[in-house]
Symmetry: C2
Subunit: 204 residues, 2 copies
């Protein structure tokens, strides 16, 4: 839609902002803005302020680089979490995915991505120095690699292994295999191959 077709510049600005979000087209953006217009003004102000505050006030945990409201995130400051067990993830989303399992009682280290020469991401762009420093200082017994099973993820795992294996720390990686609920027929051959070679003793 061209410029002149919006009855108001304010409306157009708001639509443009929503349409700049990933996966939101102009039609959806317009629909969202119209729904905001129908709301209570106070509610809409709260919406706008939550976005402004988000960037202005949010912090990254100085220990694990996870999102945080303070200097140290709620996971790193939790007395009950095992600080000697560090799970290495790419992003904040991955922290949330693992937290959702409610099975992990260690802490995290958010790299902020994976090594990807194609995208111009090298080791220096990731939070690797602070990870090595943490391990060097001692008190870490195990590192779990939980990166994507892509070439970039594997490259990053290999690079991290090279940097960390000189320290007295055991390094593990997430188990790979057939997903629970998946049918063998539809499992890709690489996963299935790994599941066979990494087979476990059968417990009755």
């Amino acid at each position: 839609m061209s410029f002149t077709e919006y009855p108001s510049k304010l409306l157009e600005n708001a639509v443009n902002e929503f349409a700049s979000l990933p996966g939101i087209g102009r039609k959806t953006a317009f629909r969202l803005v119209m729904s905001l217009l129908k709301r209570d003004p106070a509610e809409v102000e709260k919406f706008g302020e939550s976005i402004i505050k988000l960037h202005r006030e949010i912090r990254y945990c100085r220990i694990c680089h996870n999102l945080s409201d303070g200097e140290v995130c709620s996971i790193c400051s939790d007395e009950k979490r095992d600080k000697s067990l560090i799970c290495i993830v790419e992003s904040i989303q991955d922290v949330m995915a693992i937290e959702n399992t409610r099975q992990y009682r260690g802490v995290y280290h958010v790299l902020g991505g994976v090594i990807s020469p194609v995208d111009g991401v090298g080791p220096a762009d990731l939070k690797i120095d602070s990870l090595e420093e943490k391990v060097r200082q001692g008190g870490v017994s195990e590192i779990i690699f939980a990166l994507s099973t892509t070439m970039e993820g594997d490259t990053t795992n290999f690079y991290l292994y090279k940097r960390l294996n000189k320290y007295d720390v055991s390094i593990s990686t997430l188990a790979r295999g057939v997903a629970i609920g998946d049918e063998l027929e539809y499992t890709d051959e690489i996963t299935l191959g790994r599941a066979i070679s990494n087979r476990n003793p059968y417990h009755q």
Copy 2:
């Protein structure tokens, strides 16, 4: 997802706000907020401010009730538009849809809905008095009904007709028929029936 799973309250607030929009689930809301977090802070502030300004500063045209940046909208204040021809529509979206055709040179009157006893919308909830007043004052030669072809739309058409036909104004309605590009086979029977009874002379 429950409360504790977000690493930050600010993040959670922003996700909640986005998830309150129609058609946006929690996963999408989270993805949108994460994309905002990756942006330049100045850009994100602009986003938030465009939403706050939207409600605070937007006006409705005092003549046609369309959205407007000032007291009178750009259509009503356009010298080239024919003020004696008024198209009655339900919503601002309908004004935009007709404007997109670039075929209409008259003005509009936005009712703000249709009469719908089921939803508790009566004539008094719509901008009907101001429409009648406009017609009563004279200078209007034709009124075009462009409401939905639903029972509510038809009821509203009938109600408006009753109120306006005592004035010296011709009243018309949008042509109904087979949509351009549509195949007869897939056209619903009511539309097809109307298209037959309203058939036009063939021009070669």
